[in-house]
């Protein structure tokens, strides 16, 4: 699971209103390099919840994601590389995602989060 995906995942247990962002429990991380596409990054940036990305990156041990982004930074190669790395190259292979409201644990195995709910949570 990449942080881009994490930026969209939310807990959907019935009645939960603050199910995003999910807290991350890291057991195993993996870095898989991939080609950076600045155009993609510039288009995806406005769609992200930046605070959630910043906090998640921090949990994963990536501390070079700034809290605020100025538009000019999206032209800076150096920033884009760090942005790309945090968003797309770091994978949570084993661990869990935790609902901030209910503390419900969604396990992550082989990079796949299991978001299935039990019958009583539906």
């Amino acid at each position: 699971m990449r942080l881009l995906t994490h930026n969209m995942l939310a807990c959907n247990i019935k009645g939960v209103t603050k199910g995003f962002p999910l807290a991350i429990e890291v057991t195993k991380l993996e870095t898989k390099e991939s080609e950076m596409n600045p155009d993609f990054l510039r288009h995806i940036y406005p769609k992200l919840d930046w605070k959630a990305l910043h906090d998640a990156a921090h949990t994963l041990g990536l501390n070079d994601i700034p809290e605020q982004v100025e538009p000019a930074m999206l032209e800076d190669e150096d920033f884009l590389q760090k942005f790309h790395h945090a968003l797309l190259e770091v994978h949570l292979e084993e661990g869990a995602l935790i609902c901030p409201e209910t503390n419900r644990r969604f396990p992550v195995t082989k990079g796949v989060p299991n978001m299935l709910l039990n019958e009583d949570e539906v």
Binding site: T5, C11, K14, D39
Partner: protein, 474 residues
């Protein structure tokens, strides 16, 4: 100057627009209209085989042989007609094209098709004389009755008659198992399309089928008779392990991400056709909430590269496993219930989904409840004003959901039919209006629903209770 090659490219009926669009960009190409009963497009091109092999919307490409309408369907004149077909074809350019394709392909010693005759005659013969080199061949017949009762011959009879004609004319030996040339004869009522296969070797990687197919019903096709035809999906017949599967010797089976499959996996060529409708933009997140082995998001990435992010999710563990094996590039896989997507509202740009239809979901009633719920989720997660969804399904309740219940949130841009595997399927292309979605739109589960197991089947107790109560299942 490059020779003009004459092709037939097959695709699901209704998706020809995608092929036509790709062919616009294929150099030196002209479309030949006039064949409408079969899914596909006839064209001539001077482009090299490598270029033709890049067609994403083609299920497969063949050398065009001939097309006939109003063929005799009674036994005697029918068989005579079929036997005469070989003599009406100019074989030289066809075999040149066939050879060109075999040369272009990677030599694959494990393809299981022996070729002793070609090596005996060699290539030199062809240049010096106009005698077509010897080849072993087979004819595969496929016969469908739509508006008529029955042909006076079976598809095997038809194949044999055509084969006899070919043998008489060309002298090639027929060999049903070990052949380097295959002619396919597709008969629909009194129409016949005759083509020659250009792709013979299967997918080099062994594709794994992760779902146990024995406990899922056979898809019910409208095809009345496929006797003698080996173009059935590998799920319909058990085949000996050594023989390369016909499903593997298709253009679409060469996609690099197609390693693990599930029962009735969507063809990448069909996925591409659906993607074409979605007007995917750079920076888009392409979601398939019922992804199976992940074909749709992975086709998007294979086509558009790092311009997009794929998000593939499914409910069943075998599907999630297959998608995870296949996932390559910027695509993540999540296990979820599509009727309750764990995604932020208004976070997705494109949803492209091949919803379960036919007997795939196993239970018609579950499907009719599930599909509208998934539509509600799609409405919720799509970005208002710009989000687009392309949904393929066979579901009356879903049609109603889109056209009536979600009218305020979805603009129906296109609705047409696709014909695949003998089924007529709806395709809806919708654009999200600017109207913000109501939060969650969770349908309050009725009492009976809570007693269903995760795959929708009633638990034993609930089934008994259902029998005695008058509660309709909604």
């Amino acid at each position: 100057m490059a020779a003009v090659a004459h092709y037939w490219a097959s695709c699901a009926g209704g998706l020809e627009f995608a092929l036509l669009k790709e062919l616009e960009n294929l150099e030196g190409t002209s479309i030949i209209p006039g064949i409408d009963s079969y899914g596909g497009v006839q064209f001539r091109t001077t482009s090299a085989p490598q270029k033709v092999a890049e067609l994403r919307s083609a299920d497969n490409v063949y050398a065009f042989l001939s097309h006939h309408k109003k063929i005799p369907v009674d036994k005697e004149s029918g068989m005579a007609f079929l036997g005469s077909l070989a003599g009406k074809i100019d074989w030289e350019p066809v075999m040149q094209l066939h050879r060109l394709w075999q040369e272009t392909e990677e030599p694959d010693s494990s393809s299981g098709i022996s070729d002793p005759l070609l090596t005996i005659n060699g290539m030199a013969n062809v240049e010096q004389t106009h005698v077509t080199p010897q080849r072993s061949f087979r004819v595969t017949g496929n016969r469908i009755c739509k508006d008529m009762k029955k042909h006076g011959y079976t598809s095997m009879d038809a194949a044999a008659a055509i084969g006899d004609g070919m043998h008489e004319l060309l002298g090639w030996p027929a060999d049903m198992r070990s052949f380097n040339v295959e002619v396919l004869a597709w008969i629909i009522d009194d129409e016949l399309l005759l083509v020659l296969a250009l792709i013979y070797s299967g997918n080099k990687k062994k594709t794994k089928n992760l779902q146990n197919v024995s406990n899922i019903n056979e898809p019910c096709a409208e095809v009345e008779d496929v006797e003698g035809s080996e173009q059935v999906k590998s799920t319909k017949k058990k085949r000996p392990a050594e023989r390369p599967s016909r499903a593997d010797a298709q253009l679409y089976s060469r996609r690099p991400y197609r390693k693990a499959l599930v029962h009735t996996s969507l063809k990448p060529s069909t996925a591409y056709g659906l993607l074409q409708l979605a007007d995917v933009q750079p920076g888009d997140i392409v979601l398939d909430p019922m992804c199976g082995c992940g074909t749709i998001p992975l086709e998007a990435i294979n086509w558009l590269g790092t311009r997009v992010m794929g998000l593939a999710g499914d409910f069943v563990d075998t599907a999630v496993e297959a998608a995870n094996i296949n996932a390559t590039g910027h695509c993540d896989v999540v296990r979820w219930d599509a009727s309750m997507l764990p995604l932020r509202t208004a976070s997705i740009d494109r949803v492209i989904c091949d919803m379960p239809f036919g007997n795939r979901c196993g239970n018609h009633k579950v499907r009719e409840v599930l599909c509208p719920r998934v539509v509600k989720q799609v409405v919720r997660v799509l970005r208002p004003g710009s989000g687009i969804a392309v949904l393929m399904a066979q579901s009356k309740t879903m049609k109603e959901e889109i056209e009536v219940n979600q009218k305020a949130y979805l603009n129906l841009q296109k609705h047409f039919y696709v014909y695949m595997e003998g089924l007529k399927v709806d395709v809806f292309v919708v654009r999200r209006t600017s109207e913000p979605a109501p939060t969650q739109q969770i349908v309050r589960p009725i009492k009976n629903m809570a007693k269903r197991k995760r795959d929708g089947q009633l638990t034993k107790q609930a089934a008994l209770e259902n029998l005695s109560s008058e509660n309709p299942v909604q």
